[in-house]
């Protein structure tokens, strides 16, 4: 693990998504496209060729009507801490250090101009959170003028992924610095675009190590779980659901095993 510089305050940013609140409206996706200059094409029917930094999946309990239940699962990059806090599955495999684990924030970075497109990180990520630029990014006429100046558009042939709107963190840190207290970034000062766009308030974002931030308490909920947690990737994104089948749908269990929140209970 990298040592923190002595003047840097350690933070561990994370997200808690309440699946019982998510309506699947995909506002988070739209906000993300706009905030992060994510490119799109006319033809987007093949989802495995689409670029999105947060993707809403529709999952069902598989039962016939009238017992059918649906749950929408927004999935950004999980910003995994990985083994020994600092070795997410994707980071150590990158041959050119184009992706790195930022110890002071717990965010996994992606440097498109350093990436040469070997896609090893994509193979390493069990969440399919990493997207490849199969085409040159092209925006409809005039739309280029509306691109965000804070985020560089990516070129063909490189990987991109969610950065927890890191540029917003940089901005918040800068503002805090000008206010004279560089270390004091309040919860509201740094929020991701998807969090702010969610109309049902399903997404909560903040410093998971700071008791003043909502995520600190939320992630300790009995019903909190992480996607494919058993792989040992240590994601920084937590999900909440009171429904057992949702827990079961989000990780792999052998027949006799139960999700931790429901062990020994039926729900």
């Amino acid at each position: 693990m990298e040592k923190l510089p002595s003047h840097t305050k350690a933070r561990h940013f994370g997200m808690v998504i309440d699946l019982d609140k998510c309506t699947g409206c995909a506002s988070c996706m739209v906000a993300c496209y706009s905030e992060n200059n994510v490119s799109f094409r006319d033809e987007e029917s093949i989802k495995l060729l689409s670029i999105n930094w947060i993707q809403v999946y529709k999952i069902t309990n598989g039962k016939p009507f009238p017992d059918t239940e649906v749950c929408y699962l927004p999935q950004p990059c999980m910003q995994c801490d990985g083994k020994d806090f600092g070795h997410p599955p994707c980071v150590s495999v990158c041959p050119a250090v184009a992706t790195d684990f930022d110890t002071p924030t717990g965010i996994v970075s992606q440097i498109p101009v350093r990436c040469f497109g070997c896609r090893y990180c994509m193979a390493a990520c069990p969440y399919h959170a990493r997207k490849f630029n199969w085409w040159d990014p092209v925006w409809p006429a005039d739309m280029e003028r509306y691109l965000s100046p804070d985020v560089s558009p990516r070129m063909r042939g490189v990987i991109e992924k969610c950065t927890f709107c890191y540029h917003r963190f940089q901005r918040a840190r800068q503002q805090a610095y000008y206010k004279g207290d560089a270390e004091n970034i309040k919860e509201a000062d740094y929020q991701t675009a998807c969090t702010q766009a969610c109309p049902s308030g399903a997404i909560t974002f903040g410093d998971m190590d700071n008791p003043d931030h909502a995520v600190y308490t939320l992630k300790k909920s009995r019903y909190a779980f992480r996607l494919l947690e058993r792989l040992g990737t240590q994601p920084s994104v937590y999900y909440l659901s009171t429904r057992k089948w949702v827990h079961r749908a989000c990780d792999n269990y052998l027949e006799h095993e139960e999700p931790a929140a429901f062990a020994g209970k039926s729900a």
Binding site: Y57, R114, D136
Partner: protein, 412 residues
């Protein structure tokens, strides 16, 4: 008196026949060159890869040709370091085959990256923790070693031998070939292993992930061992194919039998180790992550059933190994080369499984379906390219260079 361009004392076909023989291969190379142009110019959207199948047929072909090209390093190890003299009768051919395999692998890798012009980043900005970095370093340096091993063979062409400097150079390079061979063995051990490490370290992919020793997953050692076992069998089989095409005996049978015996025992030990690895993975590693063994072999489209494992371990593993370790099996040439072909197929299946099945297997329970991919024509033709390229290079090398020291004796 003019010197013939052909090696001394051997017969070669007419130039017309030779060019005619090479024409189909050149045609394939031409189409492949066009496909390569499309991929480099328009990008990887010219392939059928997608975000689930980030690695596809090229990476499989890459791993397969590198493993099969392993015959060069292991034959070199036997001939120059262990001192098995008989192997020297096939070592030149093994080196040419190695050059074909490794240059093809590097071309395919160059095609496969999204930003080929930034390929040098892997050396300049090397992340030494990445298995791919280790692969890139060892692969590139080893190709250099192979070319160094190939140079004295080229210099032995009678026309080139007339130039005194080259005459001395080839002699001097032969003298210290053991040094180059030793470096090649060292580099090969690491890059063959690192190629195994590439899937083995993916702890987010329970189908591929393996525990191991220090930083190396078990697949590291299994890949090296299997390449060393099957590589020489590939060399022998290709040599036999050359004999068939040229209608000449080029290498004595005892050379084949010796290689088959060594490979047979190595294959047997490898396949036992592979079986133990599979059992441990199926009963300990995968269940700890919530996966039952059959999860990886059921509900999948057509070709990913459990038979792929049976084919790899039993039909293309134990069966050829048992044939090759018995004297009767080796003496019967049909059995010997049948077993060799099975072993080669087994190795290719292993590399296929460790690259493509890894990516195809669903991980999120709510995404039950396997990911499906079928290669585009650009991928298929460039994957076939190494064969055409191999035909061209081996044909030229065979025609002009003394690849087989026993040829003159066997064809008086």
């Amino acid at each position: 008196m003019t010197t013939s361009a052909f090696p001394e004392g051997v017969k070669r076909c007419s130039s017309g026949k030779f060019i005619l023989w090479l024409l189909p291969a050149f045609l394939v190379l031409l189409i492949a060159a066009y496909a390569m142009f499309r991929v480099w110019f328009y990008g990887l959207n010219q392939t059928n890869m997608n975000d689930a199948y980030g690695f596809a047929i090229w990476i499989w072909a890459d791993l397969a040709v590198i493993a099969l090209g392993g015959g060069a390093f292991f034959s070199g190890f036997l001939a120059y370091l262990v001192g098995v003299k008989k192997v020297k009768n096939i070592i030149n051919f093994a080196v040419v085959l190695g050059v074909v395999c490794y240059t093809s692998a590097l071309i395919l890798l160059g095609l496969d990256v999204g930003q080929p012009l930034r390929g040098w980043f892997i050396f300049w900005h090397a992340n030494i923790h990445s298995m791919l970095t280790e692969v890139a370093f060892c692969l590139t340096i080893y190709l250099g070693v192979l070319i160094v091993e190939f140079i004295p063979v080229i210099l032995e062409n009678p026309k080139i031998q007339k130039i005194r400097f080259f005459h001395h150079l080839s002699h001097n390079m032969h003298e210290i070939m053991a040094v180059f061979a030793a470096t090649g063995v060292f580099l090969s051990f690491f890059h063959q292993g690192s190629l195994g490490g590439v899937p083995g370290v993916l702890y987010g992919r329970p189908f591929a992930f393996r525990e191991g020793l220090f930083i190396w997953p078990w697949t590291f050692f299994l890949f090296t061992w299997s390449a060393a076992a099957v590589g020489p069998l590939f060399t022998a089989t290709m040599c036999r194919l050359t004999e068939f095409i040229t209608q000449k005996k080029l290498v004595k049978d005892d050379v084949y039998e010796l290689l088959a015996k060594i490979s047979g025992w190595m294959l047997l030990t490898y396949i036992i180790a592979k079986s133990l690895d599979t059992i441990y993975w199926a009963t300990v590693t995968a269940p700890a992550r919530g996966f039952a063994f059959m999860d990886f072999y059921s509900n999948n489209p057509a070709y990913y059933g459990v038979w792929i494992l049976i084919a790899e371990i039993v039909i293309c593993g134990f069966l050829p190994a048992l044939i090759l370790i018995t004297q009767k099996g080796r003496e019967n040439k049909k059995l010997l080369f049948g077993a060799a072909i099975l072993a080669i197929i087994g190795l290719c299946i292993n590399r296929w499984v460790m690259v493509l099945q890894v990516l195809a297997a669903p991980l999120k329970p709510f995404q039950e379906e396997w990911f499906v991919y079928s290669p585009a024509w650009t991928e298929v033709i460039t994957t076939i390219m190494p064969i055409a390229y191999g035909i061209v290079l081996i044909s030229i090398a065979y025609r002009y260079l003394p690849l087989f020291p026993q040829e003159k004796e066997l064809n008086p």
